[in-house]
């Protein structure tokens, strides 16, 4: 037996139609088949939580409808089970919306289950959460907590699949759990089958970012060429009972799968490659072997597993104030001198106004993204004076009026700044700060559960 697991999205914002050829391909395969959507980031959850506070029926992913609309009918008819973290801050609300969508699309008898229990605010007070020691990110003590969600593992996903449903919607689980959950369900892998759980987690890690393993975010023309990026094929993992993985992609699509694409994705967001920690297993990829076993087919073996930590990671989100950004472009002869003068003028005025927060004022076109807030490298470089340079100012502040003020100083360059500035653009966006804390797994896992949601 082989389990086929395809990806339809690797982030909230991925192509809406990428899942269509994946389902078309899965239709032609024999065996258990799954389609995953991974659309959650640390911030998406906090934003969804805020929406849910205002409208309790919302808070599931705003992408739930656009992604499912394109595949729900075909997947149901072909027997492809959908596993997705489109539930975000409200899996129950997401399940309700999925049923409505099924009705609208004429999909009959659709069964949906959810995984619950990742939301710590449901059973812990905000003060208790705020006092937990932070391992990463900003200090949260004393801040208003917007969201606190534990990364659940694959077991609750497998529990949900046991209910025999067509769609499983989760909130915060590890991304890899969307893939390991189905594998545990199909193969009955035990809690101490460390090497199998490691291979399943690695399959999840390779598939969770969608096209990032099939040539997307990889192509570097003339160095790493990728065909057909406008119709990039999303990945399909073929996983055997012994954990052997073959990574391939949807039929009749662009993109490619080779050792290089798989290696880049394997190391993506990995720190110590001998200990990639998840609630299910500590994954060791140092002895992984990649073999090309056909066109766009890479076999992945050799992942080793060790027992996971006895804590779960929790992402805590707090209000982060505002980020203001504004830009103005200078072009042609002496453009750099004019952009530099504009930068000096804004710096001087913002300082005299008494803005206390750091303001970054930089010139795009001088290597600004590789520079620091003080533009130290730009000052040392001998850039051509003629050309195309774009002034950019940015500030983070808790005070929206200060954010607006800094943008307005860039805007005022139109009539009061150096000659020839144009193309003013600005933005002010609400920010969420996040921190990671560790909690003992027992009390959290006691809350996690899977249940079917009827129409």
């Amino acid at each position: 037996m082989t389990v086929y697991i395809g990806s339809g999205a690797g982030f909230a914002g991925d192509r809406l139609d990428a899942g269509v050829p994946v389902v078309e391909t899965l239709k032609t395969r024999d065996g258990p088949r799954y389609l995953i959507f991974e659309v959650m980031g640390e911030r998406t959850l906090a934003i969804a939580q805020r929406i849910r506070m205002r409208k309790p029926e919302l808070g599931y992913s705003p992408y739930l409808e656009p992604y499912l609309r394109n595949v729900l009918k075909a997947a149901k008819e072909a027997g492809v089970t959908i596993v997705a973290n489109l539930g975000n801050a409200n899996p129950l609300g997401g399940a309700k919306r999925t049923h409505e969508l099924a009705k609208e699309l004429g999909v009959e008898g659709l069964r949906v289950a959810v995984v619950l229990g990742d939301d710590l605010l449901a059973f812990m007070g905000p003060d208790d959460i705020a006092s937990l020691p932070t391992i990463e990110g900003v200090s949260i003590d004393g801040k208003e907590i917007v969201a606190a969600n534990a990364y659940l593992g694959a077991r609750p996903v497998a529990e949900a699949l046991k209910l025999g449903v067509d769609v499983v919607l989760v909130g915060r689980t590890t991304d890899a759990a969307l893939v390991l959950g189905p594998l545990i369900h199909e193969y009955g892998w035990g809690e101490e089958d460390w090497n199998l759980l490691a291979q399943g987690t690695l399959a999840g890690h390779l598939l969770e970012c969608g096209g990032q393993v099939t040539g997307g975010y990889f192509c570097d023309p003339g160095f790493k060429d990728v065909p057909g990026m406008d119709e990039l094929g999303f990945p399909i993992g073929e996983i055997a009972a012994d954990g052997t993985i073959v990574i391939t992609k949807a039929d009749n699509t662009g993109g490619l799968v080779n050792r290089a694409t798989v290696t880049e994705q394997m190391l993506y967001e990995v720190h110590d490659p001998s200990a990639y920690l998840t609630p299910d297993v500590s994954l060791d990829i140092t002895e992984v072997t990649l073999e090309e076993v056909g066109k766009d087919r890479i076999r992945v073996t050799g992942a080793k597993g060790n027992p996971p930590p006895d804590t779960l990671k929790v992402t805590v989100s707090a209000d982060g104030g505002w980020l203001a950004e504004s830009e103005m472009i200078y072009a042609g002869p002496n453009a750099l001198a004019r952009a530099r003068l504009a930068a000096d003028v804004v710096r001087s005025r913002v300082g005299k106004h008494g803005v206390e927060e750091p303001v970054r004022i930089e010139i795009i076109g001088t290597g600004a993204v590789y520079d620091n807030d003080a533009s130290d490298r730009e000052r040392q470089k001998n850039m051509p004076m003629d050309g195309e340079y774009r002034l950019r100012a940015a500030i983070r502040t808790l005070d929206k009026a200060t954010a607006q003020y800094v943008n307005d100083e860039v805007l005022s360059l139109f009539c009061s700044g150096p000659a020839g500035g144009g193309g003013y653009r600005c933005n002010i966006s609400g920010q969420v700060n996040t921190a990671s804390v560790l909690v003992p797994r027992g009390p959290v896992e006691a809350q996690s559960r899977a249940e079917e949601v009827k129409p």
């Binding site: 160095f223 290089a260 394997m266 190391l267 990995v270 982060g320 600004a368 950019r392 996040t434």
Partner: protein, 120 residues
């Protein structure tokens, strides 16, 4: 040693940045496996720390993966606070892999540069 050539890393290797909080990782993978020992010798954690120090980087660890002919750099505090507090255009540091590829030079046998490369 006349077949040795000094070029930016971009001529001989590729890589990708990932981020978690204020910590970035950058993978480095040579196109030609024979380049791997040269990269191990020359692309030291110290050199990578020097490259990112102006952004606030405080520590670099390098993990070697000979099975994959790859290495993984983990850079602490290179993201100017990361998505929580950075003011850069690129809060996640997505562009940093190409800074490493473009600004660090290595000396390798010409055979380590893929045929047809514009660097040759």
């Amino acid at each position: 040693m006349s077949d040795m050539i000094t070029l930016p890393l971009h001529a001989v290797a590729h890589g990708r940045t990932g981020d978690k909080g204020n910590r970035a990782n950058i993978s480095l993978i040579p196109y030609v496996a024979d380049a791997y020992p040269h990269l191990l010798e020359q692309v030291t954690p110290e050199r990578v720390l020097e490259l990112f120090r102006h952004k606030g980087a405080t520590d670099v660890k390098r993990y070697d993966l000979p099975n994959l002919t790859a290495m993984n750099f983990v850079i602490d505090n290179a993201l100017e606070g990361g998505v929580n507090s950075a003011l850069s255009q690129d809060l996640h540091g997505k562009t940093l892999s190409f800074m490493l590829l473009g600004e660090v030079e290595v000396t390798v046998p010409k055979s380590c540069v893929p045929a047809g490369s514009r660097y040759l």
